[in-house]
Amino acid sequence: MTIARLIEGCKKQDRSCQKTLYLQYVQLASRISLRYARDEHEAKDIVQNAFVKVFTKIKSYKARKGTFESWLSRIVINEALQLYRKQQKYATWEADFSEELEASPDALDKLQAEDILKLLRKLPDGYRLVFVLFVVEGYTHQEIAKELGINTSTSRSQLTRAKKLLQKFITEQNSLEHAKDFTK
C-alpha cells in the first residue's frame, strides 16, 4: 500500500492503516526520540505521544507541503522539545576542560550507536538538545534559539561546551575500553 493510501486510510481512522503506518515509521521516530531523551523510557513516551498526535492531526497533513517523513520527524522533535520544556533545567555543572586526556585517534571506530547515545545522555539536557539539533538535525543557531527559548549566543556557547564534553566522554570511554582490553 502506498503512503498516500495509508494516509487516506488514517484520515478515515482506519485502524489497520494506522498500524501499518506506525510499523513503517516507528524506527524513524524511535531513532529521533532516542537522540533527545534521557533514557529509553522517556524516548518511548515521546514516540507514543508523537504517533497519537500524528493520527489525531493527520487531516492537517498536506503532501504538497512536504514529505510525511519530514512531517513526522518534526512532530517527534516537537514532542521531545515539549517534554524538555516541561522539565526545563539548565546546565548545572561546568565541565573541567583543563585536564588533557590521552586517546588514540581511532577512538571513534570502537563506538557503536548505542555507545554514542549513552554518551549523549550523559550530557546536560541543554547541551544535548543543542548538540543534536545543530549537528544531527542541521538547525541553525537562530532556529535553536527560537525552539528552546534562549538567545543565539547561549546556543553557540552550549554547543561548544557540548562538543568539548562529548569529546571528553569519548576519550574516557576509549580509555575504559583500553583498560578492559589490557585486563583480558
Partner: protein
C-alpha cells in the same frame, strides 16, 4: 586540550545516529498508542442518509408500479366483460337516452382522464340496472371529461345516440387522486359521457400551474467552512481542525411553476443559520535564566560590582482556553428542477439544482495564531465574512395529499457549497457540505 579526535567526528556521530536499528517491542508500543486513539467511526452519517434515500426511492417506485399494475388488471378484466355483453348494450343505452342528457365528444377531443362527481339516487339506480343487464362493473355513474368549465361543453357537437350500435365507455376511478383510468371505446364510434358537472381534473394539459411551498429544515455538516475574508485566509486554513461546524437551520419559501403535469421549476428565498464552535486551548512556557540570559549585579560596601551567583531560573506557564460559538446567516436563492409523481394520496418527488448564496457579517471572532504543534501567543480578532457563492443540491422526498391542491411534504437532501465565486484569493479544498431534511406544505392554485 589536545586534539585527540579526527575532524570529522561530528559527521561520524551523525551517521551513526541516523542509520542504526532500534530494538524495541513495537507491538507493545502500538497497543499503548492505540489505547489513546479515538474510536474509529463506524459509519459516516451521510452514507446512512444516502442509504435511506435509496430505500425511499426504491419503495416509492415499487409502490408506484404496483398501483399501475392494479389499474391494468382491472382494465383488462372489464374489457373482456364489455366484449361479452356488447350485443345487449343498445337497449340499455336507449333507456338512458330518455333520462340523461348525453354529450358525444368527437374522437379528437377524447379525454384520457375523467372524474366522477357524487352519485344521486337516480344515477345509482340506473347504474345498478345497467350492471345487472350487462354485468359491467361501473364504479360510478357520472363521468366528466377533463374540461375546465361547463361553458365549454355546449360548444361541442351533441351527437344523437346511436340506436343500434351504442358506444361503450367504461371508467375506473378509485379515488379523487388517481390520475389514470381506463376508457374502452368501440372503434369509429363517438365516446359518450354523462356530463352533469364539470370538475377540474389533472390531465396532460390541464393541471395547476402555480404552487407555493413554505418549509423549515435542519441539516448537519460533514465538511468545514472556509469562505472567509482574504485577510484571514492563511490563519484560518491552518486551524481548520479547531473550528467545528454544528447543525444548521433553514427556513424558506419556494414558488413552484409547473410546465408539465409532473415537472416544475422551483425558485425562492431561504435563510440558513450556520453555527460554528471554536475550541482552543493553548499553553505557553516562558523561562528566564539569570546566569545565561542577563547579567545581574549589585555594588558592595567597597563600591565593587558583585555579580549574582548561583543558579536562578524561573519558568512561567500560561494556559488559556477559549470556546466560542460563531453564528452566521446565509441567504440562499434556490433554483431547482422538480419532478413529482403521485399515486392516490401518496407521491414521491426528486429535485435538484443550483443555490446562490450570500453572506455578509461582522459577527463572531477567531484566533489569529495557530501553529499546529507549537503553542504561540494567541490573539483574538473580530471576524469579517463576506461571501457570495454557489452550491448544488439534490433532494428526494415524499408527499401526502390532504386534498387535490394541498400537500404535506418531507424531503431529505444533500447540499454542497462550491468555491466562492467572488473572492479570487480564496482557493480552498474544503467547503461546507450539508445533509439534512425539511418538512413543508404546498398549495397549488387552480
Amino acid at each position: 586540550m589536545r586534539k585527540i579526535l579526527p575532524n570529522n567526528w561530528e559527521q561520524f556521530i551523525k551517521r551513526s545516529l541516523m542509520g542504526y536499528e532500534v530494538q524495541w517491542e513495537e507491538e507493545a508500543l502500538w497497543e499503548a498508542i492505540e489505547q489513546q486513539l479515538p474510536e474509529p467511526k463506524k459509519r459516516r452519517p451521510f452514507l446512512v442518509v444516502y442509504f435511506l434515500l435509496g430505500t425511499l426511492l426504491l419503495l416509492s417506485s415499487v409502490y408506484y408500479l404496483f398501483g399501475k399494475f392494479n389499474d391494468e388488471q382491472i382494465a383488462r378484466k372489464d374489457r373482456t366483460a364489455i366484449a361479452a355483453q356488447e350485443k345487449m348494450l343498445p337497449s340499455i343505452v336507449d333507456k338512458e337516452q330518455s333520462q340523461i342528457k348525453r354529450i358525444a365528444i368527437p374522437p379528437e377531443d377524447q379525454a384520457n382522464s375523467v372524474r366522477f362527481d357524487s352519485d344521486t339516487k337516480q344515477d345509482l339506480k340506473q347504474r345498478e340496472k345497467i350492471r345487472q343487464e350487462t354485468n359491467l362493473a361501473f364504479t360510478n355513474t357520472k363521468a366528466v371529461v377533463g374540461y375546465e368549465t361547463l361553458e365549454q361543453l355546449p360548444k361541442l357537437p351533441i351527437a344523437p345516440l346511436p340506436t343500434t350500435s351504442g358506444a361503450v365507455v367504461q371508467f375506473y376511478l378509485r379515488s379523487p387522486f388517481q390520475q389514470s383510468i381506463a376508457i374502452d371505446k368501440i372503434p369509429d364510434q363517438p365516446l359518450l359521457y354523462e356530463a352533469v358537472k364539470i370538475v377540474k381534473k389533472e390531465t396532460e394539459n390541464h393541471y395547476p400551474k402555480v404552487g407555493i411551498s413554505p418549509y423549515i429544515g435542519i441539516s448537519f455538516p460533514h465538511r468545514k467552512f472556509i469562505a472567509l475574508h482574504e485577510s484571514a485566509t492563511e490563519q484560518i486554513k491552518n486551524r481548520l481542525q479547531y473550528e467545528q461546524p454544528l447543525e444548521s437551520i433553514e427556513m424558506g419559501i419556494l414558488l413552484d411553476l409547473k410546465f408539465h403535469k409532473n415537472w416544475s421549476f422551483q425558485f425562492g428565498l431561504e435563510r440558513q443559520q450556520l453555527t460554528e464552535r471554536l475550541d482552543w486551548q493553548s499553553s505557553r512556557q516562558s523561562s528566564f535564566n539569570i546566569q545565561s540570559d542577563s547579567a545581574y549585579f549589585y555594588f558592595d560596601d567597597q563600591n565593587q560590582k558583585q555579580y549574582l551567583a548561583g543558579e536562578l531560573a524561573a519558568v512561567e506557564t500560561v494556559t488559556r482556553s477559549v470556546r466560542n460559538y460563531n453564528r452566521f446567516t446565509l441567504y440562499n436563492i434556490p433554483m431547482l428542477l422538480h419532478y413529482q409523481q403521485r399515486n392516490k394520496r401518496l407521491g414521491w418527488r426528486i429535485s435538484g439544482g443550483a443555490i446562490f448564496n450570500f453572506q455578509h457579517t461582522f459577527e463572531g471572532r477567531f484566533l489569529e495564531n495557530n501553529a499546529l504543534l507549537e503553542t504561540n501567543v494567541i490573539r483574538e480578532r473580530g471576524i469579517y465574512r463576506s461571501h457570495l457563492g454557489l452550491a448544488w443540491q439534490l433532494g428526494a422526498g415524499i408527499d401526502y395529499a390532504i386534498s387535490p391542491t394541498t400537500q404535506l411534504s418531507f424531503q431529505l437532501y444533500h447540499r454542497d457549497f462550491l468555491h466562492p465565486v467572488t473572492s479570487k484569493n480564496l482557493n480552498f479544498e474544503q467547503h461546507y457540505a450539508f445533509s439534512g431534511m425539511n418538512i413543508g406544505m404546498r398549495w397549488y392554485f387552480n
